[in-house]
């Protein structure tokens, strides 16, 4: 990774220090140990540094190879070079992406808004690093539908991430729809969401495909803040995909709900590493976490690690994890009504996924997520 080493010499000092403290992740690094990170980082890439731009007004926010080409009305785009990143983040690649990116793409959203954020990548065998920062306004509702178009991005590495400040009494609904083929760029997203007093974060991630991708989140909740994180993962072929999520209850009366559902076909590997941390100060909080996985392929693997770390007695908390195959009795019930085995399996897999997809409600986003799921499942 020659290009990376050269860039680090000029990096922002404090972030570089944090990166140095954590060290580059390897196969023994807790968050990456089932992701096979070593060969990804050992590979040589061309290094591309995105430039600032003057985006034209468009229907969506379009970022092509790290350059903002379009932005929707109501979203102010600027480029911040001295961005104050989250120094408490646990992930080395969070700092690495900040170090490598010359600036952060800053999105200020002053009122209610709903728009698509499309990442378009078409550079081959290239390491691309950029970051997006979102700031909501108090008392606003913002919905961002994040999508990826990675045609032509073969064998590259995208190191990106979102830093978001969810303002007091505001709601940020972040929906990610990611679908990747095996030869697309590897995506590593390292994110930090900070939810202020009485703010709400709805994080819904739909991650399908045969490629390699890992998202690492740190979510911080203030007094009466609320977070609902849902992750649907459908991995096929030899994919390794997953989510690492740390939710910090820092103050009293915060609430977090988290549900991960994973479907693994063929030889795919799924990762769910979730930790809810409740500090001593975070009394009267409520936290629940659940991970369910279905293994459809004989050689599919699921690594699930739900964890609670609690330093107060006055709270409600629960967590659970199940990994299994489709329930035989339920399959039989469907077959006893004339539905063939394969159709019965598909029906039950869809039912398992629909518990999360249906939360999108009717509309274009639901249709697009559903279509991506079908495209991946039925291949």
């Amino acid at each position: 990774m020659r290009a990376v080493t050269l860039s680090l010499a000029n990096a922002k000092h404090r972030l570089y220090e944090r990166l140095g403290e954590l060290g580059l992740p390897g196969n023994k690094t807790e968050q990456y140990k089932n992701f096979a990170i070593k060969p990804i980082l050992a590979k040589e890439y061309a290094f591309k540094t995105p430039t600032t731009s003057e985006p034209k007004e468009g229907a969506k926010l379009l970022i092509q190879n790290g350059v903002v080409l379009e932005s929707p009305k109501g979203v102010r785009v600027s480029f911040e070079r001295d961005f104050k990143a989250d120094e408490g983040h646990y992930d080395a690649l969070y700092f690495m992406s900040h170090v490598l990116a010359d600036f952060v793409i800053r999105l200020d959203i002053d009122a209610d808004a709903a728009f698509e954020l499309e990442h378009r990548l078409d550079a081959k065998e290239t390491l691309l690093a950029y970051r997006v920062f979102v700031q909501t306004a108090p008392n606003s509702k913002v919905e961002i539908f994040e999508t990826f178009n990675m045609e032509g991005s073969q064998n590259g590495l995208l190191l990106y991430g979102v830093d978001a400040q969810v303002a007091r009494d505001s709601t940020l609904r972040w929906i990610r729809n990611q679908n990747a083929r095996a030869d697309d760029a590897v995506v590593i997203g390292s994110h930090s969401f900070n939810v202020a007093k009485q703010g709400a974060l709805e994080l819904k991630t739909f991650d399908f495909g045969g490629g390699q991708a890992l998202h690492l989140y740190k979510i911080d909740l203030a007094n009466y803040a609320w977070s609902d994180a849902q992750h649907l993962l459908l991995a096929t072929k030899k994919a390794r995909r997953g989510n690492v999520v740390v939710i910090n209850h820092n103050e009293p009366y915060a609430k977090s709900v988290q549900e991960a559902r994973t479907i693994l076909k063929d030889e795919a590997t799924g990762i769910f590493d979730g930790k809810i941390f409740v500090s001593q100060a975070a009394k009267y909080t409520n936290a629940s976490q659940n991970s369910k996985a279905i293994l459809l392929g004989e050689n599919a693997h699921m690594y699930a690690k739900p964890q609670l770390e609690i330093y107060t007695d006055e709270l409600e908390a629960s967590h659970g994890s199940t990994i299994g195959q489709l329930d035989e009795e339920t399959l039989f019930y469907l077959r006893s009504r004339g539905i063939g085995l394969e159709e019965a399996r598909k029906t039950l897999v869809l039912a398992f996924a629909n518990v999360l997809v249906d939360t999108l409600g009717d509309g274009e986003i639901f249709d697009r997520v559903h279509a991506e799921f079908d495209k991946t499942y039925y291949v």
Partner: protein, 251 residues
């Protein structure tokens, strides 16, 4: 349907030990027996449940041995089991499920498939007849249903799929009087002189509503006695021991 010398086991335990039973077309057959006699195993063997391994014998239906068929093939050929404990399937809409099953059957028979609007009309009519709550149509299959609602839902499926051989495994268990009446009326609506019923029950009260033609006593994996409705009265008055004594006296 002719069941000949049927042997079946669950795990290593042999449950059915050479069972013979002929189900006559258009008639209502009732099977009664003590706990563990093999009643539910028989129903599972007929529909091809994975728990049951048949080791000998055959079940001839429409000229074929259905033991060689997959469960869905048996269903498409007209065999239906109303489950004792129907499973709950979160995420699968009740109407979607039933329409898929109906369309699969229609396709198998080379018939025109019922479209969504026609199906909804059909389902609404049956839901009303069975005195089910209208929201059963849009709810997930059996998910959160009470015991009575599940049994009514089984009858709803039966009425819409219109099978030829209907096995009702303890359809009356856990039902209050009103639910028992609705379920019995559903069964009676299906009686047309062509359909065959095999009713497995512990109690005689459902028989007050559906009037059986034959009553069979199942003991230790075999049918040991067959008679008419009067057999139920003997059972009620004297219990299974009377049947046992009777059998011992026979030459």
């Amino acid at each position: 349907m002719n069941i000949k010398n049927l042997h079946a086991k669950i795990g290593d335990k042999e449950i059915l030990k050479g069972l013979d039973l002929e189900l006559i077309k258009g008639k209502i057959h009732v099977i009664m027996g003590t706990n563990g006699a093999g009643k539910s195993t028989l129903s599972k063997a007929i529909v091809g449940h994975y728990d049951v391994q048949t080791t000998q014998g055959e079940i001839i239906y429409k000229g074929e041995n259905i033991l060689e068929m997959e469960p869905e093939e048996r269903a498409l050929n007209g065999v239906f089991l109303s489950f004792q404990n129907p499973v709950e399937v979160a995420g699968v809409n009740n109407a979607y499920f039933l329409r898929t099953a109906l369309n699969t059957k229609e396709k198998h028979r080379g018939e025109k498939e019922t479209n969504a609007a026609e199906f909804l009309k059909l389902m609404r009519r049956h839901v009303e007849q069975l005195e089910m709550k209208p929201d059963m149509i849009s709810r997930a299959l059996n998910d959160g249903f009470s015991g009575g609602e599940k049994k009514r839902n089984e009858i709803l499926q039966m009425e819409i799929l219109k099978p030829d051989v209907i096995i009702l495994d303890e359809i009356d268990s856990g039902l209050d009087i009103d639910a028992l009446k609705s379920v019995s009326e559903g069964i009676n609506r299906m009686k047309d002189g062509e359909r065959t019923f095999l009713v497995i029950t512990h109690y005689s009260r459902i028989l007050d509503y559906i009037h059986p033609d034959y009553v069979h006593i199942l003991q230790d994996g075999k049918i040991v006695k067959t008679g008419g409705p009067e057999l139920v009265k003997i059972l009620e008055a004297e219990g299974y021991q009377a049947i046992q004594k009777d059998l011992q006296c026979e030459p």
